[in-house]
Amino acid sequence: MIVSAKQPTDCMTFCDVMRLFRADLIRRFELKERRMTPLSLLQAFLSPGVLGVLLFRVGNWLHAKDYRIAFRLIERFIFLITRAELQTGARIGPGLVLPDEGTVGISSHSRLGLNCTLFALSTIVAKEGGADDIVIGDYCVIGRRARLYGAIELGDGTQVKDNSMVFSSVVHPGMILCGVPAHCTLQVPLELVRNWNPLKGKPLRAASTPRTL
């Protein structure tokens, strides 16, 4: 289930990083329902959401190589241009999309699956002093200003609604969490979540296929 979130970063080459970023870019174009042309690619690279993800991937590689000054600098640069705090130690699967141009917070203790979508001001933080990771499954959608706190585990296709705060694990797939503190309001089939376009609020044009390294 959450295997893709546990990708090893220590033995990652630069080609793997670029492959991951390519998957992120393809996923973004899929969700935006745009064709990949030179002009649209240029526009995408001017978007802070894409730049933030690219820099995060490079920073992740530098983190794995233990180039401390370089990845710290990249973290600061990401914050400067996108207002997002993406700590480079986080392990994030391919297909990460930050649709609201960044402004998210992901701590280094996080492990995200493939094709996750994080909206603005969503925050994923580990408990202070906690050693365990936050594990989030594939195809999760984290709404605006949603907070995920502590060593929790969310199943595949979990959707956290806006302004919710999640403190406990929900491992069943396809759950919708809402409230402060969050509780499960509905369970939808995982297949429906996989083929859902969170940016357009409707099913994807073409059924998405999981991408792995």
Binding site: Q43, L46, P48, I81, T82, R83, D100, E101, G102, T103, T117, F119, A120, L121, V141, G143, R144, R145, Q159, K161, D162, N163, S164, I176, C178, G179, V180, L186, V188, L192, V193, W196, P198, L199, K200, G201, K202, P203
Partner: protein
């Protein structure tokens, strides 16, 4: 739809005038100029120019406006949003207005608001995917957000950190995640007396 220069200027004037009224200041040219550089007004002015450039095939300038809004105010406005004059953002931080959203006149957004289409699957594959329509004189508290194909009636007040995902009748006060109506104003403000 193409937005002319005169229309853009008229909208900006309406926004600044509404801010003068909100801050109880005299509407003198100097006050208007000063308020134009207030962060809350500046983000709205940038959005107006972004929409003007985007609808007049000047996408590069629109992208610059979008970037400035993001870097300076961490706010993102879509050029496809139809926002009437008298739009007030009190504190310009992390405001998100999605494509196709319709916002009526004299609406107030405090900070960190999101008005967008719903990104979530609700179990109904044929459910209408749409954007909120916000009527006039609606106040969004700090962190309040509205999403989905809903209509927020005239004079609604949405409390802090509230998530609205259903239509609200005019004069409602909403609070909570998910929102519930905690008070219903029997006399919601009309266009003439607000």
């Amino acid at each position: 739809m193409r937005q002319s220069f005169a229309e853009t200027w008229r909208l900006i004037r309406a926004d600044i005038d509404w801010r003068c009224l909100y801050e109880r200041k005299k509407r003198s040219p100097l006050t208007r100029l000063r308020l134009m550089f207030h962060p809350g007004s500046a983000t709205v002015v940038l959005f107006r120019w972004q929409r003007f450039f985007d609808t007049n095939h000047l996408g590069f300038l629109a992208t610059i406006c979008r970037w400035l809004n993001l870097i300076l105010f961490t706010s993102s406005y879509s050029s496809g949003a139809d926002v009437a004059g008298g739009f007030l953002v009190v504190h310009a931080t992390a405001v998100c207005v999605d494509e196709g959203v319709v916002i009526g006149p004299r609406c107030i957004l405090f900070a960190q608001n999101a008005i967008s289409r719903s990104p979530f699957v609700d179990g109904k594959p044929n459910a209408p995917s749409g954007v909120p329509i916000v009527d006039s004189d609606v106040v969004f508290g700090i962190g309040a957000s509205a999403h989905g194909a809903i209509r927020i009636g005239r004079g609604c007040h949405i409390g802090m950190n509230t998530l609205v995902d259903f239509s609200a009748v005019p004069g409602s006060t909403l609070l909570g995640v998910p929102a519930r109506v905690i008070w219903q104003n029997p006399n919601p403000p009309s266009v003439h007396n607000s």
